[in-house]
Amino acid sequence: MSAASHATGHAGGHAHHGNYLTPKGGFWTTVKDWATTVDHKKIGIMYLFAILFMFFLGGVMALAVRAELWEPVRQEGGQISGQMLYSMFNSEPATSIAEGNNNYNRVFTLHGAIMVFMVIVPSIPASLGNFLLPLMLGAKDVAFPRLNLLSWYIYLFGSFFAVISLVMGGVDTGWTFYTPYSTTTEGYWRVVLMVLGAFILGFSSILTGLNFIVTVHKLRAPGMGWFDMPLFVWAIYSSAIIQVLATPVIGITLLLLIMERVFRIGIFDPALGGDPVLYQHFFWFYSHPVVYVMILPGMGIISDVIAVQSHKRIFGYRAIAFASLGIAAVSFLVWGHHMFTSMSELAAMVFSALTFLVAIPTAVKVFNWIMTLYKGSIAFNTPMVYTLIFLVLFSIGGLTGLPLGTLATDVHLHDSYFVVAHFHYVMMGGTIMALMAGLHHWWPKFFGKMYNEPMAIVGALLVFVGFNITFFTQFFLGSQGMPRRYASYVDEFQFLHQVSTVGSFLLLVGFLVHLGVFIHSLVAGKTAPANPWGGLTLEWLADSPPDEHNFHHEPIVKHGPYDFDAVVPPHWDPADYPLPADVTKPHNVVKAH
């Protein structure tokens, strides 16, 4: 049975000549090669570094916000105090509180816009998805490689506009660009450029999603049915559906917003007869489903990592796969819960009821993951640590969503730090932690180098502790009445704000440790074997790093992606991998078609 999976792979000690990272020649030749490559792996790696850079940029903004909140902005004897951000940008002391607050508004807007549009939305699909999806399917490339390169350049182009806007002074609209503020606030071109940037980034997202859907439909390896796909692929597929169906609506929204700002067409402006709540519907019809574009690929990573790192068949494969599709479907029905306080009572009731539906597929996933851990032979390495962190943080994020989805409590909690804490637990505690899990899990595959495990775990724990110190305090702040997006607050909140700020700098330390681990791995890491964790999905069949054409021969799939009880993983010696003794008749070893 193990021979089946070995048939097309090469031995672990295969000499690494001609992998995709091997330079094609001199420096400029290599640069040109990377700039014009249609190889999904190179595009994925370029995305990865761009996203990590943007994450750094957005993180700096976040730290600036937290630093500003160390003490409230207030007037003491004619002096304005507590305006750290203002003094960072200006040599003259502030003469009014509003001056400093404007800087604060810009910084948190940029933090949100960068993190959402340039980091979390493209993070997992564009980087890990691009790299891994064809490998996991046993394909040579994505369906439309040139389109893939185009979407990378569109991403750069869109980010370029956003960065121009940032350099010109940024925008203070909040990342949601709510009208009529966003169409009337100062900084005419800055807002237009930022919105244009987000609009262009949407195209990148659409093209990536479209590419993935066709790849999954058309380019699966021989023998790979729909239910032989790794769950990461299912998750990417589900989120690709959302990307394709939801992103165009943000396209038209932002287009109308630009028209509104440039020509004052008044569709969203009550001064001209328009309806600002219509804008909110337009915006959230995209931006709620896109929350699941952010989290679904993360869930896919967790499914894969949890099965491989506990060396156990995933519990409830089909349930998880269908839960992905279920989340994608439900995601289109619940956007109204972002605007409970601005919508009609009837609609709010309907949206509230529908919102709770999300809990069902999400809980199905979480329970299945926990059941997978149960009695598994768990490897406590960084991917697994991050997976556990994900489970904890995502559960807190999910459960704190319930009071926000309940109308009666939402009236008190909306637009407070409770909301801020909630979505940071889901976005950062969910997506970014999953990204970190996946990054460590597939790092050997990406670069052919192992990383320093103990240091990475130290980093992970620092991130975990720092994260909770930063954001758990914000639940208290929010439920006590601290509104979001304010630079000033009453003195009673100062202690919790300071705790939160300390936590955020602990997070910085954690991520710096990771940065060090990654750099160390690239420079001096041990050479990675083809299959360091004993995974069964097809990417482990390829070399580390993979050959330019992914596989030496087209793989033929004869077993499920998680049949750890029946199949010896590729590149492993059967002697080192005793299968469970009670497995007498392994199912799925040879698929009957």
């Binding site: 394909a139 040579k140 490339d141 369906a143 439309f144 490689p145 389109l147 659409i206 999603g209 479209l210 590419n211 859907i213 066709v214 439909h217 058309k218 380019l219 394709v244 169906l245 939801a246 992103t247 165009p248 609506v249 396209g251 038209i252 929204t253 287009l255 109308l256 028209m259 509104e260 020509f263 004052r264 067409i265 008044g266 569709i267 402006d269 001209l272 007869g273 328009g274 309806d275 219509l278 519907h281 337009f282």
Partner: protein, 259 residues
Amino acid sequence: MSTLDTRPNQPAANKPVWSRYVHGHHWRTAAEEFDGAKLGFWLFLTTEVLLFAGIFCAYALFRAMYPEAWAEGSGSLDWKWGALNTVVLLVSSYTMAASIYAFQTDQQKRAQINLLITLVAGFAFLAIKFLFEYTPKWSGYFFVLDPALSHYPESGKTALGGLFHFVEGYGGKRPGELFSYPFAESANMPLWWSVYYCGTSLHALHVIIGMILIARVYVKGVKGHYGPTYYTGVEIAGLYWHLVDLIWIFLFPLLYLIH
């Protein structure tokens, strides 16, 4: 519906470009590649439909909220231009489909002529849109085509011996803040014009993109890139052009006929 004659016995040197097409190395067969390209493009078309969904949504809701503005608005559009443009687009859709048929049966000349007709129809659509709809409404001036010559004695300017009259319309029927027409009945008329201009100009933009695609297909067609076994590019451009038609099929009654 019939199967293909791929004419396998032609000498290699004389073979046209299309018959030498090799599918991408990551696809198993050319047929799979064709299917994949179509699936990908249909996915893209869904995004286009959802892009216009924003316009349709704004239209539907503002119509429900301010019916009097919408009645007045559709009353101030001339259904004749709308109907003419509908016919132009439908005919161009037909010629586009016919050019695919011609390529499939290797009638290169016929395919090229059909593509050219499609392009001309695209220009005609845009010309009608800009000359007879946008310009008069936006500028506040409009010109009247008067075959009887000197039908309108009071018009300010004439051209071509009285065939065209330029008449002052007193103010631009423009979107939002740019609106300056003094005789609007409903207070929400600028909103109607916003939806009208956004919808039709976004559609016109798609017409232009479609025409660029068709022009490209035409040039490649002249070079012999398309034939019975390979015509993916034509198919894609055709699908896009039909989508443009589809959107107009809905925009026309919504804007011109429903009141």
